[in-house]
């Protein structure tokens, strides 16, 4: 459901998600994310990327996780990449695509 990959050269931590991220899946995910992701209080230089290329559904609780992670990362250091168009539209509708840097 999620794999992590850290690139020390670029200081980029990529979390690659897959499948259906419904409320139940996200409950399990949130624990893993809390452990794996650096909680930087907005100061670290590390970049965090959520890669959603293989995700076909996201619940509002997943969007909340994205917002929380984005808040904890330094400004501009969080982004969401490789969304399927339907997922991209979901972020658009939420009105959070800009602050989450969705592409």
């Amino acid at each position: 459901m999620v794999t992590f990959n850290y690139n020390p050269d670029d200081k980029v931590l990529t979390a690659t998600f897959s499948g259906r991220l419904d409320t139940i899946a996200v409950m399990k995910l949130s624990e893993i994310i809390q452990i794996k992701l650096p909680m930087t209080d907005g100061k670290s230089e590390e970049k965090i990327v959520f890669d959603l290329r293989d995700v076909d559904y996201i619940s509002s609780s997943f969007i909340r996780i994205c917002v929380n992670v984005a808040k904890q990362a330094a400004p501009g250091n969080f982004s969401i990449a490789h969304c399927q168009p339907f997922i991209k539209k979901t972020f658009k509708i939420s009105g959070l695509d800009d602050i989450l840097h969705v592409s």
Binding site: H82, P85, K88, K89, K92
Partner: protein
């Protein structure tokens, strides 16, 4: 000063309300006679009014404005002439529901500078067909041609027996006065077509409004598309009246595998791809940096004038300027709506990225308006349609002539295109006469057997499950 403006507004609305009271008593035949007379008068003057609008605004191409006037008269008239808009409009003996059309009351119609006479003709026809008096508030850059349109229509309407003051025009063009009249309690509806500021003012007025603001129409040319056909249609649309229709194409999006082919085809059909330096020069004259909106000085201008203003040299006979951009938003000024023969062009590495780009463009100031796809793959077409927030998703169709209906499809001919809640509208329809009536539903007693045969005391029994109640409710049915 304000007091004086309030008095003026009161006078206009008092007159309009009297017209409304009188109009309310007209039957369908009387109403249709007036509409026919106004259609004929407007249609007869289509060339004169087109030339006046062109001369006064300095925008567009008069021959194309004639076609817009034909849309606003003949085509709109033919689409509404047989519609019932008075009294009983439908009756269903099975349900016992009869629908009765009632007029709304005074309608304030705001007219844009880009399509002044055609929009005036169109709004007058649909208001009269629904027995609503209309008050025209024209953009000050088009007040002369709109005033002449109003005179022609009003004389024809009176001749056909219409109530006095059923068509009025606001003389004062000040923003203050427009604001006062928009918020006037006697206005029943505002039909606002224009820029964002004006449409927002209509919505903030406290009166019901159907407002059509900007569109930022993305066009996706899919790999399955007929490329020469797509380019030809896009060009015919974007050059129509020099791009003044708000449904005209703004951005072309392709995947990189067909980029070269599309580029060559546009070039073959006399479009010019700007280099980076030229893009900067065109941006400077086409977009107002502070507001990130198009400059009024280039709206509806031919390519030659835009090139001269920008100080660039382009091949003779160029039809459209195309700017290849790497992104959208503030850093890429030409990614916003430009009502002139200028197109943004994007190449994406794959289908997914290309469609995502279209979604971004759609949300960049054009939400709810229109979008377009050129494709011969049904799955791609419906995938695209579902993703875009657009009242009209046009398929293999020039968007200027496609979105306004009739020419290329069976959408109702209209010069006011509903943009749904994305554009702060209540409808995504092409606005026409039926949107300007209140429908009363006379509902005859027609008891629902299910309800009356059910022992309703069961609703108070909390020990019964949902299934038990439902089974009992539908028992023997």
């Amino acid at each position: 000063m304000i007091e004086n403006l309030n008095d003026q507004a009161n006078e206009i609305l008092d007159r309009s309300l009297l017209a409304s009271a009188e109009f309310h008593q007209y039957n369908q035949e009387q109403t249709d006679r007036i509409v026919e007379a106004v259609f004929k008068a407007g249609f007869k003057n289509r060339v004169k009014l087109a030339k006046m609008a062109h001369e006064e605004t300095g925008m567009g191409i008069w021959e194309h404005k004639v076609i817009k006037n034909v849309l606003g008269t003949q085509l709109v008239y033919e689409s509404i002439r047989n519609e019932r808009t008075v009294g009983v409009i439908s009756s269903d003996p099975k349900t016992g529901i009869t629908e009765i059309a009632q007029p709304l009351g005074p309608i304030l119609a705001v007219i844009p500078v880009t399509n002044p006479t055609s929009t005036t003709l169109f709004k007058i026809l649909i208001c009269l067909k629904s027995r609503n008096p209309i008050i025209i508030s024209a953009h000050r850059g088009a007040s002369k041609s709109c005033s002449e349109t109003v005179r022609i229509c009003y004389e024809a309407a009176l001749e056909a027996g219409a109530p006095e003051d059923c068509i009025q025009m606001i003389k004062s063009g000040s923003r203050e006065f427009t604001k006062i009249i928009m918020g006037h309690p006697k206005v029943a509806l505002i039909l606002a077509t224009g820029g964002t500021g004006l449409v927002n003012a209509a919505y903030s007025s406290g009166n019901p409004a159907i407002g059509v603001g900007p569109g930022n129409v993305p066009v996706y040319i899919d790999e399955s598309a007929d490329i020469p056909f797509a380019c030809k249609n896009i060009i015919s649309s974007k050059t129509f009246d020099n791009g003044t229709i708000c449904a005209s194409e703004q951005s072309i999006v392709v995947v990189s595998s067909i980029e070269q082919k599309v580029r060559e085809e546009f070039e073959r059909q006399h479009c010019y791809f700007l280099n980076n330096e030229e893009i900067k020069k065109v941006e400077k004259i086409a977009i107002v940096e502070e507001s990130m909106s198009m400059s009024p000085y280039i709206v509806g201008q031919p390519v030659s004038v835009i090139a001269a203003k920008a100080g660039i040299t382009i091949p003779e006979g160029t039809r459209i300027l195309i700017a290849k951009l790497d992104g959208i938003g503030r850093d890429y000024p030409l990614s916003v709506e430009v009502l002139a023969p200028i197109l943004a062009f994007y190449s994406a590495p794959d289908h997914r990225t290309a469609v995502n780009l279209c979604v971004d463009l759609n949300y960049l100031g054009g939400i709810g308006h229109s979008a377009c796809i050129y494709a011969n793959d049904e799955n791609r077409i419906y995938e695209y349609a579902e993703l875009l927030n657009a009242g009209r998703v046009l398929v293999n169709t020039p968007t200027s002539q496609g979105a306004v209906g009739y020419f290329y499809n069976h959408l109702p001919p209209s010069l006011t295109l509903g943009c749904g809640t994305g554009g702060k509208n209540i409808t995504t329809e092409n606005i026409t006469a039926k949107n300007l009536i209140n429908i009363q539903r006379v509902s005859r007693r027609n008891p629902n057997e299910l309800w009356f045969s059910f022992d309703q005391s069961k609703y108070y029994d909390e020990s019964l499950s949902v299934e038990e109640i439902m089974n009992e409710y539908y028992k023997n049915h």
